[in-house]
Symmetry: C2
Subunit: 152 residues, 2 copies
DNA sequence: ATGCGAATCTGCACGAATTGCAGACAAATG
DNA sequence: CATTTGTCTGCAATTCGTGCAGATTCGCAT
């Protein structure tokens, strides 16, 4: 196939609503909007990026609220937080086991699958209890590889 | 053996001196101090951490200079810059091919070897020119695992 | 050695990302 | 519909890192 099979995005907004209430967290219009934006999001948005998207549909929403909600989702394991790019966190709505390819020129991230990732032989891992392995393939995306000027 | 075989640290200060001059960069006492601190450094220090170490031996050295030198070294490939922990960059004097284990509780990083890392099968990597793969094993170090159990 | 030009050092200001705080406000519950 | 509690917004503060400028020093060629 030419693309990854359909991936599992963050849970349905309705499910997140239940999960929030179950934790004593309230479900506000702002949070519902973010649930919707994240569900089906194929990229790896930053908080600022989601704030921009959210602002289109709800002018006046606060960046602070976006951070708050993303942090809550991450704490509940409904969202992956990536620290792959310098300076900023990226939020990955895809919670299925997967990994990333990163263009070292433009910083673009894309999802990949690495079937053997959880069965890697590791040397030098003493007194450590591994839970999850993440793989990042660094390289150049085709646009950056062909362009003379590797600007975003 | 109970530890990794002797790893290759950043090149000898004398070699870095030659490399800097060859690039038209000057070799100052500040830089020589950082060369020495990095050579044989077993950890993954932050710029602030190296600044603190450097300040002991050279009071008055500027944090700006530490950043400058680390960036120069990274640009020359004499140092790896890691974006694994949130908010800050870590500098890895070990330029040999290796990977990292990260304690998700205390943030500690340690070096590991993953022999198969460069031969991983990757699914979903189209229009991309990979150069280098990095593996991070997340988990708990023994102190954190035995201390207060963070997850109930 | 000596001098000159270019690179560097330091201190400070600035910018981006993220969090802390407080008062107004709204969601859940009975 | 009233109460309780958590949330929202705006702003200040913090942290990490870089841009800038003037004084200084390195390194090469006299």
């Amino acid at each position: 196939m030419s693309r990854l099979a359909k991936v599992a995005f963050v849970r349905q907004p309705a499910e997140l609503t239940v999960a929030f209430r179950a934790k004593g967290l309230k479900v506000t219009p702002q949070r519902q909007l973010l649930f919707r934006l994240l569900h089906g999001h194929e990229g790896h948005p930053t908080a600022e990026g989601l704030f921009a998207e959210a602002s289109e549909q709800m002018p006046g929403i606060s960046l602070r609220t976006v951070y708050q909600t993303l942090n809550d989702l991450a704490a509940m394991g409904e969202l992956q937080v990536l620290h792959i790019t310098p300076g900023t966190s990226r939020f990955d709505p895809n919670v299925e086991s997967h990994h990333h390819a990163k263009c070292v020129s433009c910083g673009q991230l894309r999802d990949i699958h690495v079937p053997q990732a959880q069965q890697l032989e590791v040397v030098g891992l003493h007194d450590f209890h591994p839970s999850h392995t993440s793989v990042v393939v660094n390289g150049l995306c085709t646009p950056c590889a062909t362009a003379t000027d590797p600007i975003q």
